[in-house]
């Protein structure tokens, strides 16, 4: 009990929520497991050039497609390239697309939606009409246009995907903020003299996080698959570079003869998605202060 009073002296106001959330998250085994797996995957992705057993362009045409063996743990593809190496290099692209594009979408979407929802009136109308217009633009044309103007470039791909995904995020956030804004605690914050930005940051965003987190965990996999689709059309990464999405789509073509070419990349994606979901659920519960009694 006394520690409770002692340690409030150090903490800056507003930080309790995040401290408490972290404390709660650490107690959730599944979420912690998900977090560890994700961190491990990211570390592997970063260190791939040093860890990978073969170079990603190295091929042995004589070998052809072989099932898993001692030399090639996950087997090789039709061109005799080591599958494990491919998955490791593919993970670099897929994870980067997943996290960076979603991060972009998250930052733009949440701020856009929160400002529109809080301001209301004409500013809200103008901001949301812009979202509607972007919604209406055919996504493929938008991407092709970007690629034509700026040339094909992985960073541009992240940006393009993020620029499309934030629209839904902004709508969700705006809806949340609109309902929260009616509540008296926001009015109380206004009467205390807090600036609109502080109100949004400290009072509105933390209360709207639940649906946002859920949507984020849904966005990351859909972004990864979107990248595969673009790559398949020749707009994303190109061979010999690869990604999980590409590996899966090639694997699916030959799944009857060489099933391991589909199974292992699929497994990598599945593990990532499971971990994300565990972490997402855990985060949502941890941020909901009403969730657990402690």
């Amino acid at each position: 009990m006394n520690t409770g009073i002692a340690d409030i002296q150090q903490a800056p106001p507003g930080s309790s929520l995040w401290q408490d959330a972290w404390r709660r998250l650490r107690r959730n085994r599944m979420a912690l497991f998900g977090l560890c797996v994700l961190v491990l995957l990211v570390v592997i992705a970063i260190l791939t050039p040093w860890l990978a057993p073969y170079g990603y362009a190295e091929q042995n045409l004589d070998l052809g497609a072989t099932p898993p063996s001692a030399q090639h743990w996950l087997g090789t593809d039709v061109f005799g390239r080591d599958l494990l190496t491919q998955i490791m290099y593919g993970g670099r692209v897929s994870l980067a697309v997943g996290f960076i594009a979603t991060g972009v979408a998250l930052v733009i979407g949440v701020s856009w939606g929160a400002v529109a929802g809080y301001a209301g009136g004409r500013l809200d109308a103008a901001m949301m009409r812009l979202v509607d217009i972007l919604y209406a633009l055919p996504f493929m044309i938008f991407i092709v246009l970007l690629m034509v103007v700026f040339g094909r470039n992985l960073l541009l791909l992240f940006f393009a995907i993020g620029a499309v995904e934030w629209l839904t995020m902004a709508r969700i956030m705006r809806g949340q903020v609109q309902t929260l804004r009616q509540q008296e605690f926001v009015e109380a914050a206004v009467s205390l003299g807090l600036s609109p930005l502080t109100i949004i940051r400290r009072h509105l965003v933390p209360n709207a996080l639940g649906p946002i987190i859920v949507y984020t965990t849904l966005t990351i996999p859909s972004v990864m698959l979107l990248e595969a689709f673009l790559s398949f059309l020749g707009l994303g990464v190109q061979p010999p570079q690869t990604s999980w999405g590409l590996l899966i789509s090639y694997g699916a073509e030959t799944m009857e003869e060489y099933p391991w070419l589909l199974i292992f990349p699929g497994l990598a994606l599945t593990i990532t998605l499971f971990s994300l979901n565990f972490l997402g659920d855990g985060l949502r519960d941890a941020l909901d202060v009403r969730g657990t009694a402690d």
Binding site: M1, G4, I5, L17, E187, A188, S191, G193, H203, V289
Partner: protein, 524 residues
């Protein structure tokens, strides 16, 4: 007619088992109104709901007892048998008529539904019965309103519809769970009259559940007082009011607000309101929420603002603080015009004027601890720095009667009364000179109400506050206010000091409000 014997109900959760109703016995006779009184959490609703199988099991569990209704034990009945009893022999009226009516169904269809469910009647017969009943519960012109939707009725009218719905199968017992809590005083008085009248005419038994002893003072024949799941006292109305035995009953009686305070010596006007107008645009129509209102609030004075819902009293409070944009007029605070103030100066002024809201559930950020909530205004207005803020917060918690150990807790971990203490602490953190209290106790139980009013009275003195106290409840206002303004439809009806208003009301509307105060005859 109904005799409940040794009823016990528990709730089982992961944390443990809580006994919500503990060995409760009472009887209800036909042709009498039995009131069950207790604070929220006293088990009064659970006791009645479990009789009808309306307590979900699990988490609920009936541990024992009997409930004989006309000789049959309700607790032993199967679901199918209970369904036949519910709505036909025993009917219920709930607290909030808006949430209990289906917004997408006309009230006529909703009225006919239980009738056609339990009895074999034709559509025409059902319609005829429903119309007759609407007439009986005092709905004017039922022919035209029959096909209206719930939102087209006022709160009082909706409650009448609910009562009609409960009565349509001619039940022998009516259970009314806080049927008037959500209503204005004058409407409350009408509904109470209606219930008493129906009971006499139809000779049915009524169980009236309420947290407010004053409400049932005029209509109950016998009273059952519950505390923490147990019945602490049972008796006739006269016996309870004249000669209460149990200390808890005495506490409830004492919590009925009464008396008024002597007018305080007051200084120069701190707030001057002149011809204030706040109009809203609702579709094409203009709603004149506040229409040409002028008054002064003197330094050190508590000004009461009384009116029914829709009278514009909350809008006035919010307009003064510029939480709602006024359409015209002038508000001067300490000789500064508030309505035309630029943002920067307004922020500085906000420190000096604060507000306390009605609903302590909605007025606190659910994701901020008490500490964060109280520290925010202190840091914002530089009334404390990083080093001294903890001490300042703890001092504030002491002032409003919160234990220091709860600093790291979140709002949902507190009861309604404690939450209102947090909200009061937040309003006082900036050391304001002027506070708008917007129905600060109407969401609370009566005993808690008394505590919060006492706290506010004490803080008004300690902090030297000037206050605008807004309420629909005359007796609550009377306790705290030096002067009272009566508001109706956005205009001032009467303005007088507290004692004069209560003893010699000049306007007919004020007199009507005073007559509607429940339990006047019994409050001392």
């Amino acid at each position: 007619m109904l005799s409940v014997e040794h009823l016990s109900v528990s709730f089982v959760s992961r944390i443990g088992t809580t006994r919500a109703v503990d060995d409760v016995s009472f009887t209800v006779q036909s042709g009498r109104i039995t009131a069950i009184i207790g604070e929220s959490g006293s088990g009064k609703s659970v006791a009645c709901y479990s009789l009808l199988g309306l307590v979900p099991q699990p988490p609920g569990r009936i541990d024992g007892g009997r409930a004989l209704f006309e000789g049959e034990d309700l607790l032993q009945m199967s679901d199918a048998q209970l369904r036949r009893v519910r709505g036909r022999d025993i009917a219920m009226v709930f607290q909030d008529p808006m949430t209990c009516l289906n917004p997408y169904m006309t009230i006529g269809r909703q009225l006919m539904e239980p009738l056609r469910l339990h009895r074999k009647v034709s559509r025409a017969q059902a319609r005829e019965r429903a119309l007759a009943l609407l007439q009986e519960v005092g709905i004017r012109d039922p022919q035209t309103t029959f096909d209206n939707y719930p939102h087209q009725f006022s709160g009082g009218m909706r409650q009448r519809v609910m009562i009609a719905m409960a009565l349509i199968n001619e039940p022998k017992l009516l259970i009314a769970d806080e049927p008037t809590t959500a209503l204005d005083v004058t409407i409350q008085a009408q509904i109470l009259d209606l219930l008493a009248d129906l009971q006499r005419r139809r000779d049915i038994g009524i169980i009236f559940i309420s947290h407010d002893l004053a409400v049932v003072a005029d209509i109950a024949d016998s009273i059952v007082v519950m505390e923490k799941g147990r019945v602490v006292e049972t008796g006739d109305r006269e016996a309870i009011f004249r000669n209460a035995q149990h200390p808890y009953t005495r506490k409830l009686l004492a919590a009925i607000p009464s008396g008024s305070k002597a007018p305080a010596a007051t200084g120069a006007p701190l707030v001057q309101v002149r011809e204030l107008r706040t109009w809203f645009r609702d579709g094409g129509a203009t709603v004149k929420a506040v229409d040409d209102v002028s008054f002064d609030i003197h330094r050190g004075e508590v000004l009461g603002l009384v009116g029914e819902s829709g009278s514009g009293k909350s809008t006035i409070g919010r307009s003064l603080l510029r939480l709602v944009a006024a359409s015209g007029g002038s508000v001067r605070f300490d000789n500064t015009e508030v309505l035309s103030l630029a943002r920067r100066e307004l922020t500085a002024l906000r420190r000096r004027m604060q507000i306390i809201f009605q609903d302590p559930f909605a007025s606190l950020n659910p994701r901020m601890t008490v500490y964060d909530t109280l520290a925010e205004p202190l840091l914002l207005h530089r009334l404390a720095d990083r080093g001294s803020v903890a001490q300042a917060v703890l001092k504030l918690m002491d002032d409003v009667g919160l234990v220091r150990e709860s600093a790291r807790k979140y709002p949902h971990e507190f009861s309604g009364g404690q939450r209102q203490r947090i909200a009061i602490g937040r309003a006082l953190a900036t050391r304001p000179e002027f506070v708008v209290a917007d129905e600060p106790v109407s969401a609370l139980d009566v005993t808690i109400q008394a505590q919060i009013l006492e706290l506010m009275e004490q803080l008004v003195g300690e902090y030297g506050l000037t206050m605008l106290f807004i309420s629909h409840d005359m007796t609550v206002v009377r306790q705290l206010a030096d002067r009272i303004i009566v508001l109706r439809r956005g205009r001032i009806v009467e303005e007088a000091d507290s004692r004069t208003l209560f003893e010699h009301p000049r306007q007919a509307y004020t007199q009507q409000l005073l007559r509607s105060i429940p339990g006047r005859a019994h409050a001392r």
